[in-house]
Point group: C3
Chain length 342, copies 3
């Protein structure tokens, strides 16, 4: 595997398959039936130059569950960078302290620049409008795991991506990963001005997938396997764009949409967080408790997938099985009160 | 035990007794003579939406001393909640990452709302004017431990609560816990306008305790066993209330008060932090070094009590004795330079 | 050893020698060939009242590599201190939670005041214009280690200190430590107004070292063993001082200076961070990749030196050799892409 994980573009089908297999082997640990200490003594530098509590805690917990220790940094500035330190120096210094580095930064390309100065494995935890490869991997892992449960396969699957397809880096990375697999049917529904960039539509078409673009959810999607909906990343907009833009309720995925336009086992995904405020035009809360709502199984999958990323980059994936012990503390049968029992 | 620890109201006398017994069994670890790794592999989400360094570090250290790993979050906003994420979603997402969650939040009821969405044990680390049950438990544990040392018993004890009894949630929770025990004598001394709420006075009276309310410390308290003094939580006041309010030195507990009006083994407690600035009207620093000043033994007790809370919620309390090893590093005979040698 | 590490002034030659020997024994762990768990169960309070991400992570990682757990606090205020809590109370409270404490604080003397209230070992991680003893120790350790590699000795070494010698606490502490060793030649080059304080020049002279002071780097230094350059700590200046002050390029150490005025094995050191912005008048980036540039080996040395400080204060240095295990995860042969292969 490449020494860093900076972009899904660097991942071959074989790489992705390997990561998904390793993630599946992490499930007993992620589900807290087993404990491993394989990374005991290793130190993760978890560098968040941009706030993202969820992603930070997910990487942190994944590293801890492999037995390692984590040094977190948060806040928009690294104190030494405020004093004019280059990313080159910061990277090289942190490399002397840590065995692996997760970095999130608001500027596109900054994580790659950081990674260029070090041989310590660096994972891109999101670089502004750029990449967030672990999110794409956990999304793909979720689809694969849900399909296995439902007896489905990626071949000929019908996946709907909707919401902000222009600025949502999540859907860009996911569509690239999906394109590596058996030909499937991808329907892209976005309001005018927020369509999927054409080079990505072309890439997916060129790889043999059927792509259809629409500007409304008011259609029949009864053969849908997955609805992947994204929120409008308002912070990506300039003031002018926001002014002229208003999302109608037509783009909201809710119980009515799912009951009337989708199948009985269509799963609903979302990269989270979702905006649950009134008039947010985000995934509706009326699906909470519906077993088709896979968003929390999806976020749960962040743990085995990030464990797999660490285990693969640090080359311990073959050591873990030998190192497992039973969990000794209380673990609830279901983590959430509305979790489906499959 | 209840799957969460949200309020002292949910605790029966049996629950409290069990927690205190488990805390006592944690003492060899808390005093750093022994080490356990019983929670190795477990992850605590230590979520502080309101700054409270002391409480955060205390929970963190307690979990570490059981062998677990801790993911801290600090700061008034959770980045995803700033984007409109509901407590329901935040709770369910964190439940997929963590084995236990401590949450502190400025809004009353928020921790209970958070806990309602998860089966992972949640501990209320303070929700504004609401509850802070681990503080009340460590206060009760301190009284019990000091009484054992002094050959006293809770039955017929005389406990003085003074300071801000209206807004101090600490004294509200403590008085509820005390009321579960053998009838005792409670004297409540507060300036006008800051008296203990009447429903709490009634509750304690109804349970058979003798309650006396006064508006001055200028009395004879020679049979006092405990003086529990609290600071004025100025941040709880509105601007108007602050204006019209001034505490006289008559409410300050100091060496003169203790020597002239209390007994030789009256212990002094305080929830800390105390305001040591001049004119703060808080517990005087002239008692530093006096063995009757129990405030640092009290804060030390936060470790075994919080270990007991984790051990009980995570159901490992019976495993710890088998798992003890000797500490190998230097541990000072006394932690503080003024600590009494008992 | 003294129970705290507050200042290099408290360190005898024997203390320093012992620390350097222990640091050398930590190298297999610091270089990630070996793992120890000797501090398993111990808790470090890593209290940063002033931002210093690098120093914080370095102490954190060093403690983790000994097997301990770390509770970090960051931010300019401790929440309880903002409410009027004294350093005495904060210190005593933290002593009940932690086995060792690192403290960084913007006010000179504050760490010593904090340490005076506790028997738990306290390490000064920098107190404003005061002391930062672990930096001085890692600087000395670096010189010693580089000299061993080059077959040199401290006796008769020629060391150039340049930059801001008035406000740079790093060079003050380093020169004190160097003065404990065999007579050497120290050349001090600073712009007018930023010279080394005369009491330090006197101290070093009195201990038998040859000291020469100059106001320009435009000289022949072909027999130099070490160039130690520091940045201008602009945040130490008052507005007026900054106004009247401008550093010429004459004080910049770069490849031309090193090639024309130094020897083939002169090493270049810097306490970091360096300001890499144009016109920063700091150590030039054109030396990146040059094996004489020791700045990243120097910062790497922070790990074994800080491990040695912890191991010595916590009296576990003799236990570590028995406790070593092999690292099982991937470790790059070189941490940085430009690291020299010696």
């Amino acid at each position: 595997m490449h020494p860093h994980l900076l972009s899904v573009d660097s991942l071959s089908r074989d790489h992705v398959d390997h990561l998904l297999r390793v993630a599946a082997r992490m499930e007993p640990i992620a589900q807290r039936r087993k404990v491993t200490r394989v990374l005991e003594g290793a130190v993760l530098g978890n560098l968040f130059f941009e706030a993202s509590t969820r992603t930070r805690v997910s990487f942190n917990a994944a590293f801890c569950r492999l037995g390692g220790s984590v040094c977190d940094t948060t806040g928009f500035t690294f104190s030494s960078m405020a004093k004019g330190e280059s990313l080159y120096d910061t990277s090289r210094v942190m490399s002397g302290y840590c065995d692996a580095i997760v970095m999130r930064h608001p500027e596109q390309g900054s994580v790659a620049e950081f990674a260029a100065a070090t041989h310590v494995p660096v994972i891109n935890g999101g670089d502004g409008p750029g990449e967030h490869p672990s999110q794409a991997l956990l999304d793909l892992y979720t689809i694969d795991k849900e399909f296995t449960r439902l007896g489905k396969s990626l071949a000929d699957a019908h996946i709907l991506l909707t919401g902000d397809l222009k600025y949502g880096r999540t859907v860009h990375s996911l569509i690239k990963l999906l394109s590596l697999y058996a030909p499937m049917r991808l329907t892209l529904v976005a309001p005018p001005g927020l369509e999927m960039p054409s080079h990505l539509v072309d890439l997916v078409s060129d790889r043999g997938h059927r792509v259809e673009q629409r500007d409304t959810l008011a259609s029949d999607f009864r053969d849908l396997d997955v609805v992947y909906t994204t929120r409008i990343q308002k912070e990506r907009f300039t003031a002018e764009m926001s002014e002229g833009f208003s999302l109608s309720r037509d783009f909201t995925v809710d119980r009515v949409f799912l009951d009337q336009r989708c199948g009985r086992d269509t799963i609903v995904m979302h990269p989270l967080p979702r905006d649950s405020r009134p008039d947010a035009n985000d995934l509706d809360v009326d699906l909470n408790g519906d077993p088709r709502l896979a968003i929390f199984r999806q976020t749960d999958n962040g743990i085995p997938v990030r464990m797999a990323i660490f285990a693969t980059l640090l080359e311990v994936e073959s050591l873990i099985e030998r190192d497992l012990r039973d969990v000794r503390w209380f673990v609830p049968a279901k983590f959430g009160v509305d979790d489906a029992a499959f």
